[in-house]
């Protein structure tokens, strides 16, 4: 035992809370070290001085004030508290309710697309695209002939009535 180890052993020693082996070690050190012996003696004196402070009793109104404040506390047992024993359950239920309301309030296909659903429109659009691609060479030929300059200088023939056009 040395002086450095007394910082963790002196208070328990003075409190009588050391094991026999440690207590004998401290006592052997105190017998050999005048500084630690004096310190131990003065610690006891300090403890005695601390004991001189009188105990304070709470005022007569203290209990009544505590009771009043406790009585003013919400009891937390309303119907909502009974219904929702846990904040997590309450949160989950709220989210579920919002989800159900949102899904229920979404417009139906009939309301939004009175002439067909988006799926039908998509199929129709794909058919038009296919037809255009299939006729693309003919359209290109028509475009070339329509803009061919030598042809534009030729006199325009009056349009034949549809009934007189030769039948293919």
């Amino acid at each position: 035992m040395n002086c450095a180890r007394m910082d963790k052993r002196l208070i328990p020693y003075l409190d009588g809370r050391l094991s026999d082996r440690k207590r004998r070690g401290v006592e052997a050190h105190l017998a050999a070290c005048a500084a630690c012996w004096l310190r131990a003696d003065e610690f006891r004196a300090v403890a005695g001085l601390l004991g001189e402070l009188p105990q304070i009793e709470p005022s007569g109104a203290f209990d009544a004030r505590v009771r009043t404040r406790v009585a003013a506390e919400p009891q937390g047992q309303g119907w909502w508290a009974w219904l929702m024993p846990s904040p997590r359950v309450a949160l989950a239920a709220t989210l579920l309710t919002i989800l159900v309301v949102w899904v229920g309030s979404r417009p139906t296909d009939k309301d939004t697309y009175p002439h067909g659903t988006p799926a039908t429109a998509t199929v129709q659009s794909q058919d038009d695209d296919f037809q255009m691609i299939k006729d693309l060479p003919v359209l290109e030929d028509y475009d070339v002939l329509a803009n061919f300059e030598p042809l534009s200088s030729l006199p325009q023939q009056p349009e034949q009535p549809a009934a007189e056009s030769p039948q293919m």
């Binding site: 052993r9 004196a45 300090v46 304070i56 009793e57 209990d63 505590v66």
Partner: protein
């Protein structure tokens, strides 16, 4: 406390009766103002009441209670809301040991023992000032150890330190007190208790 948790109002009343005096004393020695200490003690009881549903008996109730009280006291001290009451030796007060009330000395109270009263009050004022000079953590440790009789394990949990660290903390606190109270230690008043420092 488990009965309080179960909603037994009478058990809360028992807690109030059992711990009101230790709590007010602890808080009064922390903030040095009796009226504010009572306000803070009410806050502590209210927090206990509010937290009753979440109370888990993993530690002693006193450990839980004084942990709340320590937090409340340290917050109050750090906020500086509670003025430290300085007791001037030039303006002596008499402390009535019966109820702890402090009042200014009135000339009509003077009696043959007044000198003895003044000497005793000067000693107490010096002891209070010495405790006030301790760093917060050391002060809490000394108050819980000396006046509340809590064991090292409990105080360690309240201050969130190991038992070993707490013993060192108490040692350093007593070293400070030894220096601050040197005049009284050198001239002990009456019979100084021998034995335990608790």
């Amino acid at each position: 406390m488990l009965d309080v948790k179960a909603g037994d109002a009478q058990s809360f009343e028992l807690l109030l009766q059992r711990y009101r005096t230790p709590l007010v004393n602890f808080l009064c020695r922390m903030v040095r103002d009796r009226a504010q200490a009572e306000d803070l003690a009410q806050d502590v009881f209210l927090r206990v009441y509010r937290a009753r549903k979440d109370y888990v008996p993993s530690a002693k109730f006193t450990t839980w209670l004084f942990r709340i009280a320590t937090n409340v006291a340290l917050n109050a001290v750090r906020d500086g809301r509670y003025r430290q009451m300085e007791i001037s030796i030039d303006q002596p007060v008499i402390v009535d040991a019966e109820d702890g009330d402090e009042r200014f000395l009135d000339p009509v109270d003077q009696h043959p023992d007044i000198e003895q009263h003044l000497v005793e009050e000067a000693r107490r004022a010096m002891i209070r000032r010495a405790i006030d000079k301790l760093p917060e953590k050391q002060r809490v440790a000394v108050l819980l150890h000396k006046y509340q009789g809590l064991d090292y394990n409990e105080i360690g949990k309240i201050l969130k330190c190991s038992e070993s660290a707490l013993k060192s903390l108490l040692f350093r606190a007593y070293e400070v007190l030894r220096v601050e109270l040197a005049p009284l230690v050198a001239q002990p008043h009456g019979q100084v208790q021998k034995g335990s420092v608790q």
